[in-house]
Every structure is written in structure tokens, then in C-alpha cells.
């Protein structure tokens, strides 16, 4: 079981160094030979996947990069005009884009920790010998397995400004407000349903991953600690969570990427930036620029700025979360 943790560390950490430089010549030859055979075997295992990856992910990525330097004419590409970095500078100087960046970051900063805290909490509760475990798992997973398009429509429907379920609960049941709240007409309140949806939909996924992580922790550790008289909180704090670190790292990185790339809920709920283009996420702006404004070059530049940002964030997170687990 130690291997789970240490190996996950090396996965996240730097490349395992294997230069043959200091070895005697004879050794080096056999070593190289072994590596060489290993390389061939690796190529065989990697080829089918990489073929698809190159064709449908990496290649298109390169192509988009090219588009981002043009005023790209999507119908007659030979009419496209080279504009250099103009699309990029335009984005960085555009207040709508800056607002979209702030919104996207806010969404990520709020929804990612909320999903992890609630999801891991659910996983810990489910990792006990309790009745109805499968029942709860299915319930918590319902939002995850319901398509984004559908849940976005449902949340939009619940947060209707007049007579929606949310207003009914707040006004007529809980009496928190005396008037209907115009959720989707307000540039800040619009984010209430969008953020809630992001959290609501992600808890189940986070819980399942965390549960898989928890189940790989030997019960013996916790039992030993319990025998030693450690409280439930201390067992969680000093045993479970540290052992869960690789899982938490994975969750943080993947959820952050997901958060920064969020767009379907925003597109459907705000209708693409309403009101006043103040509620865009980076991708809704990109979608609007591309498919509404036909500005493919600008859209590609926005995507690249986002990709660069996501990449930077991921690297930073991996470095920060890489710390060794002391056992």
C-alpha cells in the first residue's frame, strides 16, 4: 500500500532520471539494450492512443494556434489576413474579457473547494459500514449523470424570477425575502444558480473519487490509531487526509481545470453574458466571438490565453501539492 502513495508521488513529480553516463561501458550497453527493448514495448502500448491523440487533439491544437494569428475567414480561408498578435492584445485590452476572467476565477475559487470539502465529507460518511450505501451513492451521483444541458435548464427553471421554486422557498416558506428576487436579471445574483449548480453537480463525482482513494487506505492504520485512543478528528486529520493526498491532488487539479473550462451552464443560464456582457466566462465569450461574431481568430486567441492560464495553474498546483507524505 505504501507503493500507492510513493508511486503517485513520482507520477506527479519529475521524470525519473535514467542517464547512463556514470556507468561502465559494458554495463551501459546492456542497460541501453534493456531500455531500448522497453522503449519498443512502450511504443506498442502507446501507439493506438497516441494516433488518436495526435489526430484529434494535438493536431487541431496546432491548427487553432495558427488561426489565432489571423483575421480568419472561416469559409474562404485563403482570404484570411495575418494580423500577428492583434487578437491577443485585443483580448487583453477588452474589458468584457477581463470581466470574464474574473468571473471564471471566482467560479473556480468558490466551486472547487466547496466540491472537495463536501465531496470528501460524503465519501468519509459513505466509507463506513452503514446501511443503504449503494442507495446514497446513486442519489449523490444523480446530478453527475444528468447531462449539463439538462441540469442547466432545470436550474434556470428553478431560479425563474417570478414564481420559481427558489423564490417560493425563500419568500413563502422561509420568509427570508419579502419580494421575488430577479436572480437572472442581476449581474452578480446570476452567479448564485451557476455556482450552486457547479457545486451540486460536482459533489457526487468528487465523492466517488475520494471514496476510491479512501478504500485503498488499509483499515489497519485507522484501527491501530483508534486502539491508541486517537479521536475521530485526529484520525481524520493525521491519518486519513495525509494518506488521501494523491487523491486530493488529483481532485484539485482536475476540478480546477474543469472550473476554468466551465461554459455550458453559463451559456444556457445567462444566455451568453447577459446582462450587459458582465456575466461571461472565458469560454462563453469565446463561443460567442466564434459562433455568433464569426471571429474565429479572436476566439482561438481567447482559447489559447485560457489554455496557457490553465496550464500555468496546473503546474503551480502540482508543485505546491507535491510535498512528500511522511509516514
Amino acid at each position: 500500500m505504501r507503493s500507492t502513495i510513493s508511486s503517485a508521488e513520482s507520477r506527479i513529480g519529475e521524470a525519473a532520471p535514467h542517464t547512463g553516463g556514470q556507468l561502465p561501458a559494458a554495463h551501459r550497453r546492456t542497460r541501453e539494450r534493456r531500455n531500448y527493448r522497453s522503449t519498443l514495448a512502450a511504443a506498442a502500448f502507446l501507439l493506438p492512443g497516441f494516433l488518436l491523440f495526435f489526430l484529434f487533439v494535438l493536431g487541431p491544437l496546432v491548427f487553432s494556434f495558427r488561426i489565432s494569428f489571423y483575421d480568419w475567414n472561416i469559409i474562404n480561408s485563403e482570404l484570411s489576413e495575418w494580423v500577428g498578435l492583434e487578437n491577443y492584445t485585443r483580448a487583453l485590452g477588452d474589458p468584457v474579457f477581463r470581466r470574464a476572467v474574473i468571473n471564471t476565477i471566482a467560479y473556480t475559487v468558490v466551486t472547487v473547494p466547496a466540491q472537495i470539502i463536501l465531496g470528501v465529507g460524503v465519501a468519509i460518511l459513505l466509507n463506513q459500514a452503514i446501511r443503504g450505501r449503494s442507495f446514497y451513492r446513486v442519489i449523490y451521483y444523480l446530478p453527475v449523470i444528468t447531462p449539463w444541458v439538462i441540469v442547466s435548464l432545470v436550474f434556470e427553471f428553478i431560479f425563474v424570477g417570478q414564481g420559481g421554486l427558489a423564490n417560493y422557498l425563500l419568500k413563502d416558506v422561509l420568509h427570508v425575502t419579502s419580494e421575488n428576487i430577479r436572480w437572472l436579471a442581476h449581474p452578480i445574483l446570476t452567479f448564485v444558480p451557476i455556482f450552486l449548480l457547479g457545486i451540486w453537480k460536482g459533489i457526487g463525482w468528487t465523492a466517488i473519487i475520494a471514496l476510491a482513494g479512501l478504500q485503498s487506505i488499509p483499515a489497519a492504520y485507522e484501527e491501530a490509531a483508534a486502539v491508541d485512543g486517537a479521536t475521530a478528528w485526529n484520525r481524520l486529520r493525521y491519518i486519513t487526509l495525509p494518506l488521501l493526498r494523491p487523491t486530493l491532488t488529483f481532485l484539485t487539479v482536475v476540478l480546477t481545470i474543469g472550473g476554468l473550462n466551465a461554459y455550458i451552464s453559463n451559456l444556457l443560464i445567462t444566455n451568453g453574458g447577459d446582462p450587459q456582457d458582465k456575466t461571461h466566462f472565458i469560454l462563453t465569450l469565446m463561443y460567442e466571438a466564434t459562433f455568433e461574431g464569426l471571429d474565429f481568430g479572436y476566439g482561438a486567441a481567447i482559447s489559447y490565453l485560457l489554455t496557457a492560464f490553465v496550464l500555468g495553474m496546473s503546474v503551480i498546483q502540482l508543485r505546491l501539492l507535491r510535498k512528500k507524505v511522511e509516514l
Binding site: L40, L55, G59, F63, I75, N180, R182, L184, D274
Partner: protein, 460 residues
């Protein structure tokens, strides 16, 4: 998977190291991509996708089309015309009858129709055209034609399409003009529409108001009389802040977006009449007489009107069939958009144009289909489900539904939006100005001054 990997690991023994393999592989892929991109940008691609999904080359042939849409063909090689649209359920059902009639008259042509959701249609069209896989013809929103024409996606029809002049002479000039861009026509007006006032009779009767308002002044006071915000009841509601929604009131008040030559917005979108129109709507909103749903997230106008929450809305002829399907007990009542101080009414022209795409490889058959869609026969068939014809000779035809009367009358005064490729951005400028005033950030004058500047930038 098993087979692939084993074969490769055996055969690769004498081959290259990983690094070389990868380098070559990346290079190969990059080349492939660039070649692929270059190929796809050639427009002379004669391959079309047929029903079985295989690529077949369709031979071109000489086709002549007479004014009534029947076609005589030199060679009777079968041809397929792809036609994309965003029709509603009843319209789609009716379209099948139109296709059947056309195919019966032109046995060598098959028409394949594909329906899209309106919101996704532009994206779907663009991606398909980019990949050289677009349809031959489509029915698109009138405001998109200049945009697609500027991209070079559409075929010029005047002087190219057989019988074009006859068809052009037979239709209303307003809808025809929406196809005009840079000196040529890039489509034909398949159908037209406009918005009129819908008033909920039972709400009016209950409040003791006899009939629909005839002047805008009366309209404003009735709207407030019929409002009771605490119960979410409003005298008037708009579907949103995008230009189409306030357009009937805007034009009826005498508002204008730009000058006729489309050179400037100054003095037009921020002129006295335009500002007065938005001031009226802004005041109605502030006084709780205009539903806040227009800022988003409220009950839609169609639902709210039928359920009695919104006493008045403005909408188009399709509402008859939509209400028949969803609110069978609801009685729809139309009237002209209330008149301004000098007694004249107006509204906004909507509708769809049928276009032929530049890279269609069955353009003769596509034009024959286009001509048929413009025929009196086809237009009358579609009229049965609330699609207003564009042929002037059909006015007064006893087969047309009775409720068309008010729409046809409104159309005589209705105005078109700005026929410009950047219209979408202009619409957005006005939309944002409207939202700024509703939120109290700017007065109507300030908001529209800013919109005028933004539109002037777009006009270059």
C-alpha cells in the same frame, strides 16, 4: 488492440529509437494537419454526402426553370438538394407536403430537409461550410444574409438564377431588400412576418377595459392600469432587451437606428424619437407596468400572456399555432401596434430568406427548389400553418387564414432592421444600452449616445 501492438513491437525491432519515432510521428501529424487544412480550403470539391453516408460525385447538368417552379432537365440524372431550416413542429410537418409536391413535379430531384434548433443553427451552418460540407440551400433569418454574403458563402442569384427577375417582381419590395448586399441579391424572401399587439381579452374585460389601446399614450396608461406587480401581473411584457423585442414600440414611436444610406447613427439611434421610445419603456419598467422578465430569468412572454400574467405582448403570426398546441383554451387576440402622436403605426419586419450556397454542387437543382419555394402553390401550403407569404399577388387570397389580415396591414408600415453584416453587433450595442438604462446606470439619452458611438465605429 492486441493485434496492433504485437505486430508493431515485433516489426519494430530493427527500427528507430523512441525519440526518432516520436519526432517523425509529430512531424507527420503536423504535415497531415496542414495539408488537410489546405485541401479543405479548396472550394472546388465536387463530393457530396448522400443518404447512405458515402461520398459520391454528382454530375452537373443543364437545368432550366420556369417561373412556376417546374423544371425541365436535359439529362435526368438524379440530384439531391440539401435544405436546412429551423421551422417549428407544425411548419416542419407542412414542409413535407411542399417537398412531396416538388419531387412529384421534378422526379429526378430529391430534397433532403434537415431541421435545426434556431439557437444552434448559425454555428452548425458555419462549421459545415468551413469544412466544405454545407447544404445546397437553407432558410435563414433575414438579418443573417448580408453577414453570410460578405463571407462569400452565398451564391449571387440575380442574373444567375433562371426566372429570378420574375420572382423578384412578384414579391414585396421590403422583404426582397433584405437579400440585397453590395449591389446584388443573395437570396429570396421565403416568408415574412412582423409583430403586432396581442391583448388578453379576459384580463381586459375583468378590468373593465373595452378593447386594445389604439394610441401609444392610451397603451401606456392601460399597461399601468392592468399591472399589479405584487402578484406578478403586468400590463406589458417584452421577451428580452435584444432589439427585436422593443422594435415594434421603437418604430411606432418613429425611432430609427441609422440614416437611410447607413452611414451614421448619430441623430438617429440617439435622436429625439428613438430616445422618447426608450424613455417610455424605461418609465413603464420603473412604474412596474412592464414586466421585469425582459432582463432575463422570468416567465416567457408567450406563457405569461396565455396565463393572464402579461395583459399585452407583441409577437408574430406563429403564435396562433403555438397556442393551439399548448394552450388550447386560450383565445388569441391581435391588433395593430398602437399609433404615435401623428396617428401612424409601425412595427419591425422579420422573416426568413432562402439562399443557395456558393459551394453547392447541385446549384441548378437547388435553384429549381428555391424557385418552387417562392411559387404561389408552395407559399399557400405553408400559409396554412401561419407562415406569411411574400408574394404580393396572394394578398386577399380567400385561402389565407383570416388572422393574416392584421399582420398584412401591419406589414405595410413595418420597417426592416439595418441590412448590414455587422447588424449583430449593432443589435448588441442597443441591447446593452437598454439594459444600462433599465438598471438605472444611465439615462436613456446617455445610454443611446453611447450606443450611437459604438454603432458608428461598426459602420467604419
Amino acid at each position: 488492440m492486441t493485434v496492433t501492438s504485437q505486430t508493431i513491437s515485433k516489426g519494430g525491432d530493427e527500427a528507430m529509437t523512441t525519440s526518432k519515432l516520436c519526432t517523425r510521428f509529430i512531424a507527420l501529424c503536423a504535415v497531415l494537419m496542414l495539408v488537410g487544412a489546405a485541401c479543405s480550403s479548396d472550394s472546388g470539391d465536387a463530393t457530396t454526402t448522400t443518404a447512405d453516408g458515402s461520398g459520391t460525385t454528382v454530375p452537373t447538368e443543364t437545368t432550366t426553370t420556369s417561373g412556376d417552379g417546374t423544371t425541365t432537365t436535359a439529362s435526368a440524372e438524379p440530384q439531391t438538394v440539401e435544405y436546412w431550416h429551423t421551422m417549428s413542429d407544425p411548419e416542419t410537418a407542412q414542409l413535407e407536403a411542399v417537398v412531396a409536391a416538388f419531387e412529384a413535379a421534378n422526379p429526378h430531384i430529391t430534397v433532403e430537409t434537415t431541421r435545426f434548433a434556431y439557437d444552434d443553427f448559425k454555428a452548425a451552418l458555419l462549421t459545415a461550410l468551413a469544412g466544405g460540407e454545407g447544404p445546397d440551400t437553407a432558410r435563414m433569418d433575414i438579418i443573417w444574409v448580408p453577414e453570410f454574403a460578405e463571407l462569400g458563402a452565398l451564391q449571387q442569384l440575380d442574373g444567375v438564377m433562371p426566372g429570378f427577375d420574375d420572382i423578384a417582381d412578384s414579391v414585396f419590395p421590403g422583404p426582397l431588400a433584405t437579400n440585397h448586399w453590395d449591389g446584388h441579391y443573395y437570396g429570396l424572401p421565403q416568408n415574412t412576418n412582423t409583430q403586432v399587439l396581442l391583448w388578453n381579452k379576459s384580463v381586459f374585460t375583468e378590468a373593465g377595459v373595452d378593447g386594445p389601446p389604439e394610441t401609444l399614450e392610451e397603451f401606456a396608461s392601460v399597461a399601468c392600469d392592468l399591472s399589479n406587480p405584487s402578484d406578478e401581473e403586468y400590463g406589458f411584457a417584452l421577451g428580452g432587451t435584444y432589439f427585436w423585442a422593443p422594435a415594434p414600440v421603437f418604430y411606432a414611436m418613429g425611432g430609427q437606428v441609422v440614416d437611410n444610406a447607413i452611414t451614421t447613427a448619430t441623430g438617429y439611434v440617439n435622436g429625439a424619437a428613438s430616445v422618447a421610445a426608450f424613455e417610455m419603456l424605461n418609465d413603464l419598467y420603473a412604474d412596474g407596468c412592464l414586466s421585469p422578465n425582459l432582463l432575463g430569468g422570468g416567465i416567457g412572454t408567450a406563457d405569461g400572456h396565455a396565463t393572464g400574467l402579461y395583459a399585452m405582448i407583441t409577437d408574430g403570426p406563429w403564435m396562433v399555432d403555438i397556442y393551439a398546441g399548448n394552450y388550447p383554451d386560450f383565445e388569441v387576440n391581435f391588433s395593430l401596434v398602437p399609433a404615435n402622436g401623428s396617428g401612424s403605426t409601425s412595427s419591425v419586419v422579420g422573416g426568413e430568406d432562402v439562399v443557395v450556397f456558393a459551394d453547392s454542387d447541385a446549384s441548378d437543382a437547388a435553384m429549381a427548389w428555391t424557385a418552387y419555394l417562392m411559387s404561389a402553390e408552395a407559399q399557400k401550403t405553408m400559409a396554412e400553418v401561419g407562415v406569411i407569404p411574400t408574394r404580393a399577388d396572394l394578398i386577399g387570397d380567400p385561402d389565407l387564414p383570416d388572422y393574416f389580415g392584421v399582420f398584412l396591414e401591419q406589414l405595410t408600415t413595418a420597417q426592416a432592421r439595418v441590412p448590414h453584416p455587422q447588424w449583430g453587433d449593432m443589435d448588441n450595442a442597443i441591447n446593452n444600452a437598454f439594459q444600462r438604462m433599465l438598471n438605472g446606470e444611465q439615462t436613456p439619452q446617455e445610454a443611446l449616445d453611447q450606443a450611437a458611438d459604438e454603432i458608428n465605429d461598426l459602420l467604419g
